[in-house]
């Protein structure tokens, strides 16, 4: 996949992320080649993945994840000319309101989330509804590494190497009926383990709900992720299963999914319900349509240091226009923000 490079005039040298912050593309390629070579040896493969990205905290991957990791298609999708966000930042600067409203809350509180066992309901307008144990649900799919830009509606952004599989393949398996026009996702509701759900001041009506139009869900860029940075998802990043739709604002990429429903009507989604004039159902990254409270024309690419602020222009569809713009021909994106 080709991603447009920004013009060289767009980037002042002071904005370039210091080298120590990221793994250079060359190193990454080298590491992945080494990984691939070692992966050819049946048992050594798992050990090689540890060093794929710098400073990645080792998790405690469930058995099914380790089993699948060996057959991963590394770097199935990459972004050129972009530095990958350090693991520490991607795991300690999160919005996951179930664990509190501050950026550091999810990392501090998500340890209480119990991701094993995990069960997932698929229902609604499908030929094959069912309740699955997560390991059975993911069994048919090969993991792919997708390095995507992530643009938050709050005007900050990161670049994250996800591990997951196309949502389209899941849809093929569950066979939507002819009535299915939308897909609806639901996050776990568990106030005992999710302190944010116990807050009397939270404006959110739990559980968190997100949705896509069926043709958006079928787009090859939309994935369900189970891992990141060569390991399983950290709890605060939406373990054990989350959506990733890189051309939409981050809040669309719902975390810790327990239910996937195919539905005929556009689902009522959380942020749209909370503030419909601020958050639309589509929520496509669009520099020309501002959030009522702040501009979406620019973004802070993290890490953005105090002495080297990394503010850059936001790209239409987060730089994925070639892949997804055709989904919205004839749609007024000012009205359908």
């Amino acid at each position: 996949m080709l991603i447009k490079l920004p013009r060289s005039s767009d980037c002042k040298s002071s904005e370039i992320t210091p080298e120590s912050f990221y793994l250079s593309r060359r190193k990454l390629l080298g590491a992945s080649l080494a990984g691939a070579a070692l992966g050819a040896l049946p048992r050594l493969g798992a050990a090689a993945e540890v060093s794929r990205y710098a400073d990645v905290e080792a998790g405690s991957a469930p058995g099914w994840f380790s089993d699948k990791l060996g057959a991963t298609r590394w770097q199935a999708v990459t972004v050129s000319g972009e530095a990958i966000t350090p693991f520490k930042d991607a795991t300690h600067y999160n919005n996951f309101y179930e664990f509190g409203p501050d950026k550091g809350d999810p990392a501090a509180n998500a340890g209480s989330l119990k991701t094993e066992p995990w069960s997932l309901v698929v229902d609604g307008e499908v030929a094959k509804p069912g309740r699955y144990a997560l390991e059975d649900f993911v069994k048919p799919y090969q993991l792919e590494e997708r390095i995507y830009r992530l643009r938050c509606v709050e005007a900050w952004s990161m670049v994250i190497p996800w591990l997951g599989f196309p949502l389209a393949e899941v849809l093929k398996q569950v066979e939507p009926t002819s009535k299915a026009r939308y897909i609806r996702f639901e996050t776990l509701e568990d106030p005992k383990r999710m302190p944010g759900q116990r807050s009397g001041f939270a404006l959110i009506d739990w559980p968190y709900v997100e949705g896509l139009r069926l043709d958006e869900a079928m787009n090859p860029l939309a994935i369900l992720a189970v891992g990141m940075y060569g390991r399983e998802l950290a709890n605060q990043n939406g373990a054990p299963l989350r959506l990733v739709v890189p051309w939409k604002y981050g809040f669309k990429s719902i975390k810790s999914i327990v239910r996937i429903s195919l539905v005929a009507e556009q689902p009522a989604t959380t942020w749209q319900g909370l503030a419909p004039d601020e958050y639309g159902f589509y929520a496509n990254v669009n520099p020309t349509v501002d959030h009522p409270r702040w501009t979406q024309a620019r973004e802070r690419r993290l890490p953005s240091g105090l002495f080297s602020p990394n503010v850059r222009d936001t790209l239409m569809f987060n730089g994925y226009a070639d892949e997804v713009a055709s989904l919205y021909t004839g749609l007024d994106l000012r009205k359908n923000y």
């Binding site: 930042d89 944010g196 807050s199 001041f201 404006l203 953005s304 002495f307 602020p309 503010v311």
Partner: protein
């Protein structure tokens, strides 16, 4: 000058926080988006200084100690200083010194407009906070400085409009602010007791 040590202590505390935050940012302790954190902390710090400033008169009434009033002006000026830093950090870290965009924000975003009005109010109070202005303005000075109550309202509204999903933190500050305002309603104020030191020389 009365209470020099108290004044100095407040001065040092006022300086200490931004210096400490800068140190944290330089050491990478504020995470990947230190600019945003600085903006938020400076704004909140200004609100805290404003609330402390507004507590001085009730405290003086309760305890009869004149020291509270002596440091009130400095505390108010710290509120102003933090707001100046807050605004600067916003321009540098959030807008990347894009002045055209700042013009757009000033016209389009209610919370920015409200914040800017609050800033102008504080500016007026800071400029007239010296003895010369007090003398020149006479009775009007007191009237002008009642603007501080409006500024508190603007500040709380500005804060409310950036809340995204959880009102708890805002509610705590708003409750304290409302309490300090309600205290000043004359019938309420008359009932505030003097707890200690009646008639102590001030």
């Amino acid at each position: 000058m009365r209470y020099p040590w108290l004044r100095l202590a407040i001065f040092v505390i006022g300086c200490l926080f931004p210096v400490w935050w800068l140190y944290e940012a330089a050491m990478g302790l504020l995470g990947p988006d230190p600019g945003k954190i600085m903006v938020d902390r400076l704004g909140l710090g200004a609100l805290v200084f404003l609330l402390i400033t507004l507590s001085m008169t009730p405290l003086q009434r309760l305890t009869g100690w004149a020291g509270w009033i002596v440091v009130r002006r400095q505390l108010g000026l710290w509120c102003f200083a933090y707001i100046v830093l807050h605004l600067t950090a916003y321009l540098v870290f959030i807008l990347g010194l894009d002045w055209g965009q700042f013009g757009v924000e000033l016209r389009k975003r209610p919370y920015i407009i409200v914040g800017a009005l609050g800033f102008l109010g504080l500016l007026a109070l800071a400029v007239t906070s010296n003895r010369y202005s007090q003398r020149r303005l006479g009775a009007r000075w007191k009237k002008l400085h009642r603007l501080v109550y409006v500024i508190l309202g603007l500040g709380l509204l500005h804060f409310l409009w950036i809340v995204r999903s959880d009102l708890k933190e805002w509610a705590v500050y708003a409750a304290i602010g409302v309490f300090l305002l309600v205290l000043r309603i004359p019938p309420v104020w008359r009932r505030v007791p003097r707890l200690v030191g009646r008639g102590r020389a001030a």
